[in-house]
């Protein structure tokens, strides 16, 4: 899409939402229901405009930064009878304010498409099959702009590490050369094209497989078997074994949710594993992740905290060898407080750290640790039209840009 078209799209969105603001309640505020409610269609539109993120702190892939993107989501639910529902989501992301001549891959994709089966109407047991919602963690299921009190995302779910499932470093030095370059890393084994790395847990793609969910008044449990891993959800499998993920959450009192998650599955693609150690070993190079999360809300405040630990096993090849699994751990704490009807303030403290590997120059973290502090506010122009502002400070122990202060605004509309 040309620069002119992108600019026109931005102006159209701002004009549309601005006009709607002036004439409150013009835009639909409820999902569109057809066929007596058997088909419902909802939508989310968010336009984020922020400072140039030269350090790639907020990129979700090489083309899209969370602070400069127009996202359009259309969700639908088709429920022919109480036992079966087909749910789907189409998402279009368009980079905003990129310079003329920049490549901008407009990505329209099927974000979710699955069938939900409820065998017994009066029992909260569901089987979901297809491109299913993330089992692991808590944030990935509320990545929508109207669920996120700020504009940026937690590092664990968004920040691109230098690891790639389709390419492997020959030795520790090659890995260390990519510190702080997860937005475009390249290695000599497997796919040698420069591509973006993966986050600890991807919030921007859903995995494909089968999911079983059961809930009681206090405890929910979910287990899923899928083709990819939490950091690399996939439509089709690229190695010889699936991932198994599980989550248990408890809500012992209203407002309190405690959750633990775990996932394990082969991470490295068959092609990359074959290039490194020959056939038949791709099951060995796994990603294992554990997570714990807590949410508490009462009155006008909401507090959330989540910790995710992830370990990737990659083959040890040339010297100096990567002789131990690569681990990363991320923790964030966020809060929101409502000041008055329609107005809130929010903040998040977030850190992502990495384990050491020993290169020719001695031990060093295999990727550059990152810390982010983000504060912001949101104001509801109408019930389903939200204007957000945020400012974030990023610091990184490595890479081309080691610190960055970014401000952004976001307009969110949903129905």
């Amino acid at each position: 899409m040309t620069y002119g078209l992108r600019l026109a799209a931005l102006i159209a969105v701002v004009a549309l939402l601005g006009t709607a603001t002036a004439r409150a309640q013009v835009l639909p505020s409820e999902p569109v229901a057809l066929a007596g409610g058997r088909i419902t269609i909802g939508g989310d539109v968010s336009a984020s405009i922020g400072a140039d993120d030269a350090g790639f702190f907020n990129y979700t892939d090489y083309d899209h930064a969370a602070l400069r993107v127009l996202t359009v989501d259309l969700t639908t639910s088709i429920t022919p009878n109480p036992h079966i529902a087909v749910l789907g989501e189409i998402r279009d992301e368009l980079a905003l304010l990129s310079l003329p001549g920049d490549e901008n891959r407009n990505t329209v994709r099927v974000y979710a498409l699955y069938v939900r089966i409820r065998p017994w109407i009066d029992r909260a047991i569901d089987i979901q099959a297809g491109r299913v919602p993330p089992t692991f963690g808590s944030f990935a299921r509320r990545v929508y702009a109207n669920d996120n009190p700020l504009i940026g995302y937690p590092l664990a779910y968004q920040y691109l590490t230098s690891l790639r499932p389709d390419a492997l470093p020959w030795n520790a030095d090659e890995l260390l050369r990519m510190r702080g370059r997860g937005w475009l890393s390249s290695y000599s084994i497997g796919n040698q094209e420069a591509e973006a790395g993966v986050p600890l847990v991807s919030a921007f793609r859903w995995d494909t497989g089968v999911q079983l969910h059961a809930a009681s008044a206090i405890v929910d449990g979910t287990v899923a078997v899928t083709t990819g891993t939490v950091s690399n959800p996939r439509l089709t499998d690229d190695n010889s074994a699936p991932q198994v993920a599980a989550r248990v959450s408890a809500h012992p009192i209203p407002g309190l949710v405690l959750g633990v998650s775990g996932a394990r599955g082969p991470f490295v693609s068959s092609t990359a594993a074959r290039g490194a150690v020959g056939d038949g070993h791709d099951r060995s190079f796994t990603q294992t992740a554990w997570g714990g999360d807590v949410e508490y809300s009462r009155g006008y405040y909401l507090l959330r905290a989540e910790t995710i630990w992830s370990q990737w096993k990659i083959p040890a090849l040339g010297a100096p060898v990567v002789d131990r699994p690569l681990t990363a751990m991320s923790t964030y704490v966020e809060g929101r407080y409502k000041l008055r009807p329609g107005l809130y303030v929010a903040g998040r403290f977030d850190h992502l750290g990495f384990s050491d590997v020993v290169g020719s120059d001695g031990p060093q973290t295999w990727d550059a640790p990152v810390t982010r502090v983000e504060v912001g506010a949101g104001y509801s122009l109408q019930r389903n039209l939200l204007l957000k502002f945020s400012c974030q400070r990023n610091t990184r122990d490595g890479g081309r840009v080691t610190n960055s202060t970014l401000a952004a605004a976001q307009l969110v509309y949903w129905f």
Binding site: G37, S77, P82, L87, E89, A215, G255, G299, W414
Partner: protein, 235 residues
């Protein structure tokens, strides 16, 4: 009969009394009857050509499971019929009132509430989950925060107008509160019938409202002590 001076004075007093009573009966009593005219009533029926559909929950694509809910549309059949403006002096003495809008089964019960200004509405939570009642309406904006089952929060409505009420957690929960500056309004029953009592005789504009749709004002004359009939068709 001999008219003595004493009898003459008595007779004069008697005649004066009779004349006074006659004057009062002839001239004063009719005016008093106008001021104390017997109030009447308006009754009728609101027919809905199209039943307003309940608000469906947004497609819960990101949820790990689904909750099956039974949607109840009976509340949405209820309309409100009201006088556009009240008779002068009809709202001089107002007792503070209380009303209740419950949160039950992820619904506001009732879905429509009609109250007079000065009324305090209690919002109890009867569910075992949190709700967060709020409104951004110009008539009354408020946010009650999150509170658990068994707790209730009050809101006083001091200005007439329409207040849309939502839950910040469950987007399909919504309700209307119609706040009037006079007591001449009525909610329809299950069959759409309404009756507004104690309306002073006169001509007024009558309006019917349902789920955000309202009729054109319709002139209605209330006879002295009588009943005016008026039917509406909405949607």
């Amino acid at each position: 009969m001999l008219l003595t001076p004493r009898r003459t004075r008595r007779l004069r007093r008697l005649l004066l009394f009779v004349a006074s009573v006659s004057f009062f009966v002839v001239f004063v009593t009719p005016r008093a009857r106008v001021h104390g005219a017997r109030s009447g009533a308006i009754r009728g029926r609101v027919d809905l050509r199209k039943v307003p559909a309940p608000v469906e929950p947004r497609p819960n694509v990101a949820d790990l499971g689904a909750a099956v809910r039974a949607l109840d549309i009976s509340d949405r059949l209820r309309s409100v019929v009201y006088l556009e403006s009240a008779p002068r002096g009809a709202f001089e003495s107002v007792e503070p009132m209380r009303a209740v809008m419950d949160q039950r089964g992820e619904r506001f019960v009732p879905h429509v509430l009609a109250i007079t200004t000065g009324t305090t509405v209690d919002f109890p939570n009867s569910d075992h989950i949190y709700h967060n009642v709020f409104s951004l309406s110009k008539t009354k904006s408020f946010d009650l925060g999150r509170y658990a089952a068994g707790h209730s929060m009050p809101v006083r409505f001091d200005r007439p107008g329409i207040v849309r009420v939502f839950c910040d957690i469950h987007s399909h929960m919504n309700a209307f509160i119609l706040v009037f500056g006079h007591p001449f309004f009525s909610m329809t029953d299950d069959e759409g019938r309404f009756r507004i009592d104690n309306v002073p005789p006169g001509t007024y504009n009558l309006i019917a409202w349902n789920e955000g749709v309202q009729s054109q004002p319709r002139a209605v004359t209330i006879p002295d002590g009588g009943i005016a009939e008026e039917d509406f068709v909405l949607r």
